[in-house]
Amino acid sequence: MALDFATFYDKHIDAVYRFVYFRVGQKREVAEDLTSDIFTSAFEAFDRFDPERGEKAWIMTIARNKVINHWRDRKDSVDIDDVAFILVGEEGMETAMQREETATLKAAMDKLKPPERSLIEKKYLLGYRYEEIATSLGKKAGAARVETHRAMKKLKEYLRGKI
């Protein structure tokens, strides 16, 4: 089991961390704490993991629940899809404004509808394949690609003349 978990860990650590990072105001410390928590839970439940469910879907469900709990513990009632790319940090200070260009990109992504933002995030930041995105949406890979392409066009429009 230990070796399998090591492979599993190597495969998903980056995506899980990024998923969390973009939902906790780009706070590295908070993202690291939550990621530790997520993988500890995954480790403890690894013998009950059903491979048919899909590795990524499983670990991302754990991640999603942990992020929801994080915000609930902070007594902030939020919709998980709306907390993506939060630009305001825990102390109410802006955390991602050091590089204007990146900040503009994040702000533009924030303007997209949650499903559109989720497509771009999955494809270009979390490293999902179109097939994986399609599975999570219950659609075909071609459809996922078309929708991602449309979302990218929309993002491009939002950024016109800003970057």
Partner: protein, 205 residues
Amino acid sequence: MIWLKLKLRKLKSESKPDKTFTIALKHELLTGKGQAPVYRTTVIFRYALAPIALALILGVGTTSYAYASPSVCNGNILFPLKSGVEHMERTVFYASPQAQVKYQVKTFARRADEVNYAIDHGAPAIVILRKVPEEFTITKQRIAGYRKAQHEEEERESEERQEMEDRAENILMDFRRKIEKAPIEEHEREQVLFLIDQRLAQIED
């Protein structure tokens, strides 16, 4: 859309987890809970391995020590051995001009380690500098120039690849949209779309 993809790639690299963190967490999870990997080595194999290992240690130990240790610097009795291995390494593994520069940088770092070691062990600076062989005289500009060229090359290759992929993807996406609306049989449409999606998946790979 290339520039947008490049910006997203930059954002992706900025949000990468710290390597120290990922290694530490993995270690904590796998060893902290008694789940360390089990390596199955039979007792017989272990005993057979011992004399072989001993012979190897005796055979190559001195050379390896000379090659790896920063304590072996110019003036040391083992330094000619070290230089010999380095010369062999340079000739065999670093033939191209680009590789030669790479090796030069590597050698520079090794000489720097030797100097640092000597300083840590109390050798006077003047003695240290006299011991430093010619590799150490490589200028910072040369190293910086090499690194800059390497970085630019990687950036250029990445952008070119991205541009080609993007162009191919756009052509296929246009074609896909036309096929979606084309007045053809539904089963034919599905077949063509399937083929297009296969090509698109290849771009993704």
